[in-house]
Assembly symmetry: C2
Homo-oligomer: 496 residues x 2
């Protein structure tokens, strides 16, 4: 087991999919379970998810939301109430038919999403406009029957949060929908170091039961898009079938306006495919369970005493400074093997500490990726930073921030290099999609037919109708497919 | 709806069960869902659970545990592998038989607990004694089919944590089992302000598949016991059926020793039944989502401006000091109605702030329960504390601590007043149990027959064989049932 971990990873450029699977496995992030399609999230992977949760949870609370918890089981009849909803989810349901040794009178669905059960409860809690808005979120597991699963990216059971809100007016619901998409974008940029395109989904890509779906889309290193989070304006669709009514300001009974929004453990997969390299996982410091690992280096017993004493002092100092730090004191591995191990596992900073460093009152830090802001590495070597002990805590904090920023800039530069604007020729677009070139911006007449044609002929889909800040300076005039007048500039790509 | 909330609660002394249900409902902690037996945990209840989670999670990590996540679904054949385990859980299983529109070849159990799936994974991860111990925990939902449910106390789905560890030796496993029971006791005493008796469960009360089960038992205000958390030494039972083996120090293959331990949302029910009173919920500050609420009092517009300005300044000051504080600025309710509302909802401290207080540079604080350490209340009135603005943040922090301590002391005094030691006559014990007197300490010969006789005749069960620190100074010499020599002093009570 130790041996095969030392063979090189498959290269991204040669087999992206094998590379991804190996990183998930070697960094001990997750594993398939005995139940087909369900994954086991191991501590290294769960630690990333916990840091994501903490940041998002704080952001949700700052925007006025409270957490609650709704049941895992939903009566089958509830799912069936909203016509589009059941059409979308029926093929993916896991159904409990037996409980306590008996056949159930009404089968129970294991929640694939919780709109139906949640709005049926809101209907009991809301009487008047004074009871609105309701702003709730739940952290939960959901199940969608999937046959072709990939760890984190597409699994039968996954962990997520689902926000569910109820509002007095359509405008408030729309504002909430956009506010939460904005929270997602901020989180993805600032914590995951992932640039995302935000915008509106077309009707064919809409959430089952929504009026409008907005999405945050990221570009992976294989130039496929990943839908990283969605926010839905549900209109009054669910309010009408679950009787979510309130006495309005005029005294009349009105239906509430709902929104829902969610992100999931899929983001861990997106994180891997955005930042990692042929040496293994790369984790942005803000979601790295370990930010720095100390590797002591010594030969003699005397050296060991000196080095370990210094290593422990450094460990305590950094821990006190709030750094997530580990001292790797395993005696079964050489320093080189430890370097390899922590590189594979994506720890942002590695500290090497030997007898000379102790003597010089300094340490060596090797960042997981090269930092443009620091002295460049010697050709063919890794960047090594020599840091005086007196400046340690401050420099580590600053290096972590630089690394966070650098990852975002690298990802942004890559996305921009793989974005094609002003494409007007369908043949050119086909070629671009065919060679997995990235995001293709082009005009679209707005018809489902043209959208379907492209999907059928190229496998690319419209990822979003981008928000104004992402639109090209010159808006396309014609639909790239049919050549009629363009209604929207849209972004095409193949997607996970 | 507003109206019926103002009627008095049922009294504990008259109908404890109705009192409990009304508190859960009026404090908006939880509610029944459309799925029989499944509850909706509303934000006020979930907020308590979140604070419990945060404290426990920190304690688990401080004792070396990492979080992970294992699948919701378990193959039915896994549950069946450990004979006692399946015997215990078979009647309570919810079973998925359909997925993705098809009948499943092997039905999937919705996890009632995760020993089987987790140890089957550990078996893949452990090769040598160097891979041990494994110290993991998961926060998850579990399902046990229940027909007679009570919100928080007994529900079909509940939220919990389950720790699962694997060790090289029996002794290490036993130490872990006791360490985590100790963590639970510390948590329950320091955060929930609940005194608990800890000790060993008898064989008949053991977890299905365990070698030994230890428990933390609390006494509710109706003098029934609540099992508030358990820790199990599983021996090698699961290791043997799932092939969890490792190469030991001698080079031989050995089976690992496992432990598991869990606490759940049931603790929220225990919290209610320990501290609350006929005015509503009482929450220990350390797990109170809101620690202090500010109720501004004014008549004229001029007064309103003065008071609201001061109230907002106080709010900001306390928030900056880390107090979980809310300013109740609802204009639809009178101050009296707000007092009633927050009392029902169990907020530890209420601040009343009127024009005179602003003038005097002081505030009035009314603690949810009387504090022995402060000036007593006037007869028939609530305790009112006058606090200078300059001392506010420090005094609030100190009052919260006093309230936390006072709740623990009150609960401890109540438990001790309702504990009966040195009971040697079975008739006396029957009388005590019959009038719900509390914990009865008595001798037991160790036979399952005597235990069963008492259960049948009185409905009392042996809650624990208490640890030495809880044992009576004089140990009983004879079994209270059969009169033969006593093997253990045990604690009897009726239980939830």
């Amino acid at each position: 087991m130790a041996e095969d971990k030392k063979s090189p990873l498959p290269k991204r450029s040669e087999d992206f999919s094998a590379w991804y699977n190996e990183i998930v496995s070697r960094a001990e992030l997750a594993e398939h379970s005995p139940v087909r399609g369900c994954m086991v999230i191991r501590p290294n992977g769960y630690g990333i998810w916990e840091l994501m949760q903490q940041a998002l949870d704080r952001m949700f609370k700052e925007t006025g939301h409270q957490n609650a918890y709704f049941p895992l089981f939903i009566p089958l009849s509830f799912i069936a109430k909203e016509a589009k909803h059941v059409e979308g989810f029926a093929p993916e349901l896991a159904i409990v038919t037996k409980g306590g040794g008996k056949d159930l009178e009404e089968p129970l669905v294991v929640r694939p999403t919780s709109e139906t059960i949640i709005y049926s409860m809101y209907a009991k809690w809301v009487q008047s406009y004074r009871d609105l808005p309701i702003l709730m979120n739940q952290w939960a597991n959901v199940v969608r029957w999937e046959m072709r699963t990939r760890l984190f990216l597409r699994t039968m059971e996954f962990l997520w949060q689902e926000g569910h809100t109820a509002h007095e007016t359509e405008q408030e619901a729309e504002e909430e929908t956009l506010r939460m998409l904005g929270v997602y974008r901020t989180f993805m940029e600032q914590y995951l170091a992932m640039p995302v395109l935000t915008g509106l989904k077309t009707e064919s890509e809409r959430f089952a039961g929504a009026l409008r779906t907005y999405s945050a889309e990221a570009l992976m290193q294989d130039n496929k898009a990943l839908q990283n989070g969605t926010s839905h304006n549900l209109g009054q669709n669910f309010a009408k079938v679950f009787g979510l009514q309130f006495q309005g300001r005029s005294g009349e009974l009105e239906y509430a306006w709902n929104t829902s929004w969610g992100v999931s453990t899929r983001m861990v997969g997106g994180l891997i495919m955005t930042h990692s390299d042929d040496d293994g996982l790369v984790t942005p410091p803000r979601v790295a369970p370990l930010e720095l690992v100390i590797v002591p280096i010594f030969k003699s017993d005397a050296e060991q005493r000196t080095v370990m004493e210094a290593a422990e002092a450094v460990f305590r100092e950094l821990k006190a400074a709030g750094v997530r730090v580990k001292l790797d004191d395993r005696d079964s591995l050489s320093p080189g093997a430890k370097f390899f191990d922590w590189e594979t596992k994506g720890v942002p900073l590695r500290m090497e500490l030997g007898p000379k460093d102790v003597q010089n009152n300094s340490v060596v830090i090797v960042p997981r990726i090269s930092l443009d802001s620091e002295e460049p590495a010697k050709p063919g070597r890794k960047q090594k930073l020599f840091i005086a002990r007196a400046e340690l805590a401050g420099r580590v904090r600053s290096l972590l921030e630089q690394l966070q920023t650098q990852l975002f800039e690298n990802a942004m530069a890559r996305r921009e290099a793989n974005s094609y604007r002003g494409v007007t020729d369908y043949g050119e677009m086909k070629t671009l999609v065919d060679r997995d070139a990235g995001f293709v911006y082009a005009g679209w007449c707005g018809s489902a037919e043209c959208e379907a044609t492209v999907k059928e002929e190229t496998k690319a889909t419209i990822r979003v109708i981008p928000f104004p800040e992402f639109q090209s300076a010159t808006r396309p005039s014609h639909c790239i497919v049919c050549g009629t007048s363009s209604k929207h500039e849209v972004v095409w790509a193949k997607a996970y």
